[in-house]
């Protein structure tokens, strides 16, 4: 168990190092001049040269990458010309365009992403798993058909189509909800929930199709096992068999997939955030790309990569914890 965790975490660190080297290298080769972008439109060549020196862009790519890594583990100093700026570990760089440390920017945006992902998870764990269980109970019934159609429609179609339709119907026509604008939880919990409701429903319903299918398949698999036959022979009712015994088979895969999905979403449900204007990580990435703020882009990509890689490890651990038959090696 401990060996497994150490091995997997070691692998995760390796993957992140490779990813950071690749991303850093690619951006170093990029044709845009970070110094010019950081300095602004009306900079003289002398000023640009000065900024380049401050940013350390006159160094070789290896030196720059080493400095970046050093910043991540021990922190580093940035010079802004007049003063030096201390960037504590984990320092993911400094965005001269927004005049902010990348780590701070990301921490600033994380709550929005977390609110979206956690709320959506509540929905997929209730609606998704519930529908799946129901269709396993009433096999061949209407629920099952509806589920098949919904799953087919949801697999593949991008989440923003559902989101656009929800906005159009709920906000524009029925006017049950206002067009969402993000309000931080700490500012006004009621307004926060009210504004997040539609994004939650959109992302939650979208993911629910997948979870319903997974729940249904795992439950049906368990239903075919011998111990269920024994329960039947004892005269246990179908509802109790599905609800109390067969549904258990769905617990490990649902937990593992939830961990995986949550990790991906912490990395930014890019499309949902973009559609509803939620200032989370995904939106930070898009904004960073628009103005070619490379430090921000590199930082966000690495954080997202870390979230995904960690989620993979956690998913495996949770799966093993929920299903004793699985042996980690």
């Amino acid at each position: 168990m401990t060996r497994f965790v150490v091995k997997r975490l070691g692998g995760a660190v390796f993957v992140l190092l490779v990813l950071s080297a690749l991303v850093y290298g690619l951006f170093y080769l990029a044709p845009s001049d970070p110094a010019r972008l950081a300095c602004g439109e009306r900079c003289s060549p002398a000023q640009i040269a000065q900024v380049r020196e401050q940013l350390g862009l006159d160094e070789s790519v290896l030196t720059q990458y080493a400095q970046f890594l050093q910043g991540v583990f021990t922190g580093r100093d940035y010079s802004t010309g007049v003063s030096t700026l201390r960037c504590d570990a984990p320092c993911l760089g400094f965005s001269y365009q927004s005049d902010q440390q990348v780590t701070e920017l990301i921490l600033d945006r994380l709550p929005a992403t977390a609110s979206l992902a956690l709320g959506a998870m509540v929905i997929w764990l209730t609606v998704g798993v519930g529908t799946g269980a129901l269709s396993a109970l009433r096999r061949g019934g209407l629920t099952e058909r509806a589920l098949t159609v919904a799953t087919l429609a949801a697999t593949g179609t991008p989440v923003f189509i559902l989101g656009l339709l929800m906005l159009m119907v709920v906000c524009a026509y029925l006017q049950w909800l206002p067009f969402p604008t993000y309000v931080p939880l700490g500012e006004d919990p009621e307004q926060w929930a009210w504004n997040m409701l539609l994004p939650w429903l959109t992302l939650g319903f979208f993911e629910s199709a997948k979870y319903a299918r997974l729940t249904r398949a795992s439950t049906l698999e368990t239903l075919a096992e011998d111990h269920i036959r024994t329960f039947r022979a004892y005269g246990v009712g179908e509802r109790a068999i599905v609800g109390r015994h067969a549904l258990r088979g769905a617990v490990p895969p649902v937990i593992a997939l939830s961990a995986l999905d949550l990790g991906t979403m912490f990395g930014g449900a890019v499309l949902t955030e973009s559609l509803f204007g939620i200032p989370g990580l995904g939106k930070t990435l898009i904004d960073g790309v628009r103005v070619i703020d490379l430090p921000v882009v590199v930082g966000v990509v690495l954080v997202i990569g870390a979230a995904v890689v960690l989620a993979n490890v956690v998913a495996d651990l949770l799966y093993a914890a929920a299903d004793r038959r699985v042996v980690l090696s």
């Binding site: 845009s32 087919l152 593949g156 890019v270």
Partner: protein
């Protein structure tokens, strides 16, 4: 842990019946036939876009200020978003550009990028998978690790980030093809590696090797034909995924550049016109939805039709065929 389990044709696909059997099984499914019909229509319409728009007498780039109500913020004049004999699907709010033409030209971008990206993914995936399957242990474990990383990384996030790297003048559709292609080959590589490993043990491959053929000749002459079925199947699954990725990249504003029309970009613009011009939302959304759905259904049918296990199953074929075999 793999998150998705795909039921792909087994490696013994080389024993599959002739392609005619697969086609017949494909044709026996009404959903597959309808999907194929819809897609054929779409492809023909996209290819013939200049012809069709000429027939309509419009093009996707001309502004028609007279067709939008500037007093009401640019809402198209007339019902259903300004549908008329001149503008079959109405005009774009704000600019008055012809929607039919823009949707058709958007289909060209969508299909071009998706097909191109799928080709790149399959090419890289087959090469990496074959090399991993045929190479020594070191090569295999290295390539397998790289493949694992490629599969687990979030494609959309990296795709968005990568668009920031390239010079703004680089042709955008080609850039999208390369980015999606370079990020999405992991699944193909995994499948090809697994199939290669199991094919390698079979007698006919061993015979070819013993006959003194080099690994590349064996790969080309013996393995590739047998890999065709699983690779085609997987490509059919990749195609709709790539359409969605292109639409998503365009939706968040890093896809093709305006004025080149694309569905994702139209949907992104449509957000301000929900009430005033619902057609502007519904048309691209519906088109994207139908296209992806049709590709998904067809991909599923291709998988079943190419599956050799499916052919031997009793309950396959049309009802007429089944009656014939039972009598």
């Amino acid at each position: 842990m793999s998150t998705t389990t795909l039921d792909l044709p087994a490696a013994d696909a080389h024993r599959a019946p002739a392609a005619g059997g697969a086609l017949r099984r494909l044709a026996a499914r009404p959903a597959a036939l309808i999907s194929a019909g819809v897609l054929a229509l779409l492809v023909v319409a996209a290819l013939a876009a200049p012809l069709l728009t000429a027939l309509e007498g419009q093009d996707p780039h001309t502004y028609h200020d007279s067709l939008v109500d500037s007093a009401r913020g640019g809402v198209p004049i007339g019902s259903f978003g300004g549908v008329s004999a001149d503008h079959w699907l109405g005009v774009e709010p704000g600019t008055g550009r012809d929607l039919f033409a823009r949707l058709l030209y958007g289909a060209r971008i969508s299909l071009l990028v998706a097909v191109g990206a799928t080709a790149v993914q399959v090419a890289i995936g087959v090469a990496v998978g074959l090399a991993a399957g045929l190479g020594n242990r070191f090569v295999d474990s290295l390539l397998s690790r790289v493949t694992d990383v490629m599969v687990s990384l979030p494609m959309l996030v990296l795709g968005i980030a990568l668009t920031a790297v390239v010079h703004p003048d680089f042709p955008r559709p080609l850039l999208l093809i390369l980015i999606i292609g370079a990020l999405g080959w992991g699944g193909t590589a995994r499948i090809v590696r697994a199939q290669t490993l199991s094919l390698k043990r079979l007698d006919f491959v061993a015979a070819a090797r013993l006959g003194g053929n080099g690994p590349w000749r064996v790969a080309r002459r013996e393995l590739l034909p047998s890999l065709a079925a699983p690779v085609i199947t997987y490509a059919a699954i990749l195609l709709p995924v790539n359409i969605v990725v292109e639409a998503s990249l365009s939706f968040v504003g890093v896809g093709v550049k305006p004025p080149t029309p694309s569905w994702g970009q139209m949907l992104s613009n449509a957000q301000t016109w929900f009430r005033a011009d619902p057609m502007y939302v519904l048309l691209p959304a519906g088109l994207l939805f139908v296209t992806v759905l049709a590709f998904t259904v067809l991909g599923d049918a291709v998988r079943t039709a190419l599956d050799p296990r499916e052919a031997s199953r009793l309950r396959i074929g049309t009802r007429k065929e089944r009656r014939k075999t039972s009598s």
